[in-house]
Subunit: 231 residues, 2 copies
Amino acid sequence: MKYLQVKEAVLRELAKPQPGFPLSENQLSQRFGVSRMTARRALQELEREGYLSRQQGKGSFPAERRFSQGSLRVRPFYEFAAAQGAVPRTQVLVAEPRPAPAEVAEKLGTADTLCVRRLRFLDEEPVILETRYLDAARCGAVLEHDLTAESLHDILVHALGLPLTRVWQRLGAVALDPEVAALLAQPAGAPGLRLERVTYTLQTPVTWVEYLMRGDRYFFEDTFTPQGERP
Amino acid sequence: MKYLQVKEAVLRELAKPQPGFPLSENQLSQRFGVSRMTARRALQELEREGYLSRQQGKGSFPAERRFSQGSLRVRPFYEFAAAQGAVPRTQVLVAEPRPAPAEVAEKLGTADTLCVRRLRFLDEEPVILETRYLDAARCGAVLEHDLTAESLHDILVHALGLPLTRVWQRLGAVALDPEVAALLAQPAGAPGLRLERVTYTLQTPVTWVEYLMRGDRYFFEDTFTPQGERP
DNA sequence: CCTCACAAGTTGTATATACAACCTAGCGTG
DNA sequence: CACGCTAGGTTGTATATACAACTTGTGAGG
């Protein structure tokens, strides 16, 4: 595993207070007695892991330390349920053609939509209220499927063959309004997480969805290692 | 760019209802008249992008579609400010040795801690209250730095030379209690985002931090493409 | 029938080579 | 002085080769 040894050497160099840069593939290959392709592989992996930045014609430099504070994975509901060791259930409240409200219609580019509203339980406790609008022209067949099944994602991608190429989403905290609070068995005004999401297939929006989650039951939890794993 | 052509061809194959698998590097190289190394590169990139799963001795297969619902990046405060086009400011409320409360001490493995509490403004509006405990044995020098500067991350990593190797974090929604609400200029009980985080250096926890964010001003927003970019 | 060994096919690692694309510094010429 | 171009260094792409490590099926031998 020569390329691993080169990687480690470069990492040690990187840790020095005054690293000697830029590095080059040829320089490394000579210093460690390996071929250029092997040195190249080491540098490429270090770039992918966020340690180096490489530029054609210039060389390899230490990456701007980004200090991205990490990321929070959004897990599918059934995965979340499994992690909690809880039994999931889905109740369909609405599944019918219904025009989207103005703000949603604007984001979808049409008001000719289907509406699906589902309440999701963990161990018979309501946790998430999902409200979704789908472009009727593209997703008409959705209503023929069993919406108590877990994944609407699956239906869209597999059954309808819509590649989901882009997602926009936004997460915030809100006070649950009385109607929603009642569905989630919470007092009006209780805090909740709100995740809004628009999914695109080939530049055109297909579905808008809002998840309202009970603040006392739903969390996003993650552990990760900044800038890729240490070798 | 032959490897890109091979990638596209494999992606088209992947989209068929009944794809012919497993693929192999030799097979592809013959079919497209390229070298094995070129076919190899195409398959490797498709694996990294989540389309394929490769196993030594067996071959390359379509990946289990994961449908990870994506991830929310947590941006450093000054980056968030820049994105909003707002002027950031930091006010230090507390910066002194202070023992951590029991729940925090348990997570840090010590109660010999420093406490830093900072209020962060966007355009002179309070948005985030940060409460942090640091292992005093490792971070004593922190108090000598200018804590109104933007990044405590930078201080820990650069000035103290602590590699941050692991992060655990959890995000939820809470009702702001009266004391916090007052600091954030919100009515008591208003909804807020709460991000709790423990950062490790080499398996041992170094700092615990809680961010309380105004629900009406702070969001996590992202766009991304599921399973890597389309070529 | 069972078991072991081997062969064939696969990916992983390493090397050598060639040329293309790109960047920069410096030199020459106008 | 200013401009352009060239030379040398860098990464990017592509190929050919060799062997190691792993998986699976098959066939020989007990």
